[in-house]
Amino acid sequence: MTMPQIEIQIIASLVAIACAIPGVFLVLRKMAMISDAISHAILPGIVVGFLFTGSINSPVLILLAAATGLLTVVLVEIITSTRMVKEDAAIGLVFPALFSIGVIMISRNFANVHIDTDAVLMGEIAFAPFDRMVIAGVDLGPQHAWVMFAIVVLNLVFTSVFFKELKISTFDAGLAASLGFAPVAMNYALMASVSITTVGAFDAVGAILVVALMIVPASAAYLLTDDLKAMLMISVGFGVFSAISGYWAARFLDVSIAGAMATMSGIVFLVLFIVAPHRGLLSIMKRKKRQKTEFAQMTLAIHIHNHSGKNDDVEERRIGHLAKHLSWTPDFGREIVRQALKHKLIRLEMDVISLTGKGVKFVKAANGLITSKYHPEFETLRKEFIIFAD
């Protein structure tokens, strides 16, 4: 690896870390699309900031552009509060307007801003190592790495100092307000952090792909854990992985680096969407199938119970009859009988089914569950009687 390559990967990782931290809170607060709005709306702020400072990495520019991000949030809130349109429409009106103003400023070569619209969309991380931070003649590395490092530190400090406040106001804004934790102030502080991060990352990955690094790793982490701290760490991990693997994929295929990073984050998400334990598609499908057979065993046991004892009816208890009475396909019926036999809920004599002692208990418990007003989890039944299912 050459030096610039290493530097690009360091910058990319810092961008991913900086984005993942506020991203987790956006996902949990159901405000993910605000990051989309902010990432578009900062554009005119960047152009105007560039007019004043002449440098894309200047802290003044970052603050000015971040202020535009906050302005977006405030505008959306004002428009929503008039109740003339709903919040989603307000978001959808405000950011395209601001973004359009930014694009027109750039394409009219406003103030000789040397940003082209490609850079707006894709970022220029490949060129980031050329901007050096030189203090007293000593080369301290790429300027952009220092900017992103500062933003990472800022986000880390903000998140750890206000962790309790952020956590409570995210999960229960009412409680946070009653405990005096100022959820509104927390909200604006978070929006400020999102805005600053977006402006800092904008130069590297472009406006829209900031959204990928904020929302996608956090959502993927949300599929894996219920713990806020774990979710923060996992999303930082996914973010860095997407950034670095995206960089190499882009080099290999000679395509947009930022685009490849977003694509990699999407692949990570897709894989977890399918295979995540408990919450992935596969385990959902498996669980649904298991619940179906368990419920069918319950139906079978109740059916047999209804036709035993006082109302004994051997015909109703024949295997062949199940298809007719319970509208099961013969295959499904056989499978359920097999399962019920395995769990020792029923006995089979010459195609006639009868309940075992355990089966009778199962029916009583199931009846109790169905008829009681208070419904304990079906899981308790399962644990007691069908524990050997898997």
Binding site: K30, A32, D36, D88, I104, T117, A212, I215, A262, I284
Partner: protein
């Protein structure tokens, strides 16, 4: 060329004619379909679908090697479709909420689109592809066959909407009720979503993938302020859409070939701002006026009641009081007093004395009757 000249030339020049017709179809289509997206609270779905169509555009070009309008439309629509499916799949199957699902699909598809786009640009015939214009839109690239394709799709959409007007309307306002009446929710949803995707797709060449969603929402959001009727809203929204498309294209052609997308969006947003301020009833101006009127009539009533109570302390209700007494009455101010006088509810005699008129007494009695609000 100034704007006026452009609109004159619209009817003479072949190219401008083409572009004008194209943007008119686009405005019509997005105006009409935008109403459904807006009322179904799917404003941001349009944003996700528009961004997500980028890989479809690039793939259509990569696979066929041509820039045939219908093929590109098909590619974009297909990608938009896959995006809506994935979004609803994420929402249905995981605890991830709709906002994050939209953001995920939007960003990932768009990123993948950029990957494909840069890949296309590396190819030999890169210069002919001109796919970058799909990012911000370039009306100047519209050809007659593009406009024909847009026209066919718009007419198709309008026919479907006319035929399924009742179903769409019911499904938009009361999905549960529609289902109890036996309308098939799945197919109606499918039809509306397909039309919304189509309306986005036909705008990509002119407005671009990044800003197309705004053209979908803005005319509808503006139209919503002027009316409470669905049919009027659709018509108004179509007019606003056409206006944004044609005027925006005019301005951008006049101004050194700016990308048309941003200009059209700004025109559409300007219409929204005007509607927010000036629309009767819902608009800011109308509401402010109504609020002030309300406040004034409340103040008037309050003062009148207070004066009446002062008068009641005398046996003769028409007993004249000195004007200075009024100043001590709660709710007194000169303006309110003047309007009471103008309305003929009090009379003032030459020697600075006042009393309530018969009409004033009657209104005051009416307003302090038990069960009415007020003192």
């Amino acid at each position: 060329m100034d704007q006026f000249e452009f609109f004159i030339r619209l009817f003479n020049d072949y190219t401008t004619q083409t572009i004008g017709m194209g943007t008119a179809f686009l405005g019509l289509m997005s105006g009409v379909l935008g109403v459904y997206a807006f009322l179904r609270k799917q404003s941001l779905l349009g944003d996700a679908v528009a961004h997500a169509s980028l890989p479809g555009i690039a793939l259509a070009f990569l696979l066929t090697g041509t820039k045939n309008t219908l093929l590109i439309f098909a590619g974009a629509a297909l990608a938009g479709w896959v995006a809506t499916f994935w979004i609803s799949g994420i929402i249905r199957n995981t605890r991830i909420k709709s906002d994050a699902a939209l953001a995920i699909v939007l960003a990932v598809f768009f990123g993948f689109g950029l990957v494909l786009l840069t890949f296309v640009q590396r190819m030999e015939n890169a210069n002919q592809s001109g796919l970058e214009t799909y990012l911000f839109g370039q009306a100047a690239t519209l050809l007659r066959e593009d406009v024909t394709a847009m026209g066919i799709i718009s007419v198709f959409a309008l026919v479907v909407i006319t035929l399924l007007w009742k179903e769409f309307k019911l499904m938009t306002f009361d999905e549960q009720f529609a289902r109890t009446l036996g309308f098939n929710q799945k197919y109606t949803d499918l039809a509306i979503n397909t039309l919304i995707v189509l309306s986005i797709v036909i705008g990509l060449q002119t407005v671009g993938v990044i800003l197309m969603s705004a053209l979908l929402i803005a005319p509808a959001a503006a139209a919503r302020q002027w009316t409470n009727r669905m049919s009027t809203m659709v018509l108004l929204s179509a007019v606003f859409g056409i206006l944004s498309g044609v005027v925006g294209t005019g301005i951008s052609s006049a101004g050194n070939n700016l990308s048309t997308g941003p200009v059209i969006v700004l025109v559409a947003v300007a219409i929204v701002v005007v509607s927010f301020v000036f629309a009767p009833g819902r608009g800011w101006l109308a509401r402010t006026i109504a609020k002030n009127q309300n406040r004034r009539s409340l103040a008037l009533n309050k003062l009148l009641e207070a004066l009446y109570q002062t008068c009641q302390n005398h046996r003769d209700i028409k007993h004249k009081h000195s004007i200075n007494i009024i100043k001590a009455v709660p709710g007194y101010n000169q303006k309110t007093l003047n309007s009471l006088y103008e309305k003929g509810l009090i009379e003032i005699t030459g020697d600075n004395q006042w009393c309530l008129t018969d009409q004033g007494i009657e209104i005051a009695r009416e307003s302090i009757k038990p069960g009415r609000s007020g003192s």
